[in-house]
Amino acid sequence: MTIKLPIYFDYAATTPVDPRVAKKMMEYLTLDGYFGNPASRSHPFGWDAEAAVEEARKQVADLLHCDPREIVWTSGATESDNLALKGAAHFYQRKGKHIITAKTEHKAVLDTCRQLEREGFDVTYLAPDEEGMITLENFTSAIREDTILASIMQINNELGVIQDIAAIGRICRDRGIVFHVDAAQSLGKIDIDLQTLNVDLMSFSSHKIYGPKGMGALFVRRKPRVRLEAQIHGGGHERGLRSGTLPTHQIVGFAEACRLAKMEMAGDHQRISTLQKRLLDGLKSIEEVHINGSLTHHYPGITNFSINYVEGESLIMALKDIAVSSGSACTSASLEPSYVLKAIGRNDELAHSSLRFSIGRFTTEADVDYAIALIQKNVHRLREMSPLWEMYKEGVDLESYTWVQH
């Protein structure tokens, strides 16, 4: 069997659209398909499109064990995070001005919280432990009289660690705090049961689960009811929570992706776990490899590790036949190493040398074997070239060495 290069190992960044999803979407675009505006009430073009949108809402709700009326269509998880946080903060601001979140959240949450701070809200950014977990003691001790809202993600996009959403939700429910969860990485990957979880608001993205980009949803609980102030106005779509003509083809694509996820989640998870084990076994043959984040509370599709004494960008260049992402500063526009790795206490060197490997539905054993061999070969090559590796092997203490800063 020949392998098609480069191999995609960046499923946490985005996924290819499943061919079954693409086929479904094609039925909702052209003149001979269902192209109508779902808001058109005066002719069958609109009625058919509306029926498709409502059927899609049922399919998404079905995956989440919630009421279809609790699903609001958005353009993606970033918009959902914005609507949830700004919407709830604005609505409940007379009750209090304090919000709790974590340092390891996605930028869509962190940057939204920064904006709310500029508007006069007070935000606590919880530090995770060195495994990347937010402990319940840590969370509980941050709660104040005026805490109105908390936002904790389920699966972390860089580390793959899974937070204890159920327990945090119970605490929030007891204290009357609105609880938002960014589930962009967990939808369709692990079971989410909104009937049992005390989650009030949950953000989803379509393009992380083999659906189209530019599509997402926000779960807004009806019982007990959570109120939001709309952030986008014009036309009153989605019960006034999110105006704008509904993109029927995107919505049916997202729903088809959810339907497939429900059918294939268990099988996908099993296969992905096996592949991750294969990857981890392969990495064991390399000295000084450090896994970042807990492997106990963990989604196996995301593996984050640091290869000491090899710089991340040079490694990514060497690994050009495999598409992975790095926490190295050199690969980001900001020249800052990953804030998530820094938050779990990784030093700059290890943050610079980190790789995020994400495996998905279309990854094969042969793909993983190719990647392991490529990493082994190039880590060896780059270490032969690394003065730090030479010093490490000579027993020089790199921590206490005096570096000539530039």
Binding site: S314, M317, E384, P387, V404, H406
Partner: protein, 129 residues
């Protein structure tokens, strides 16, 4: 990161990788080590100087991004055959222009210039008096 072919060539086929034996005691060898792991790049550049003050050989080891590796690899190539004065005159802009480094990577060429200067300084210090 869109790199020039020259950067990619030096990265994939780095020239003069290695370290000289007995570098600490050999008075013909000067070693410069600059940068810091926390900044994402460390360069070690060595020169071997003959009795006429001409660089006859040069080696490097670099921990850093592709352009840091390319900058130091190129530096070792350019150093061979130069007198210490000529080597001191090498500027980071010579390296960055030759390699067409993108603006965010100019610091890599500055680091290479620092490494050359540090190696020359080390050689001179060893051969004082």
């Amino acid at each position: 990161m869109a790199y020039s072919n020259k950067v990619i060539d030096h990265y994939e086929n780095p020239r003069n990788v290695g370290s000289f034996e007995n570098a600490n005691t050999d008075s013909h060898v000067g070693t410069g080590m600059v940068g810091a792991p926390a900044c994402g790049d460390v360069m070690k550049l060595q020169i071997k100087v003959d009795d006429e003050g001409r660089i006859v050989d040069s080696k490097f080891k670099t921990y850093g991004c592709g352009s840091a590796i390319a900058s130091s690899s190129l530096a070792t190539e350019w150093l061979k055959g130069r007198t210490l004065e000529e080597a001191s005159a090498l500027k980071n802009t010579d390296i960055s222009e030759y390699l067409s480094l993108p603006p965010v990577k100019i610091h890599c060429s500055i680091l290479a210039e620092d490494a050359i200067k540090a190696a020359i300084a080390d050689y001179k210090k060893k051969n004082e008096k």
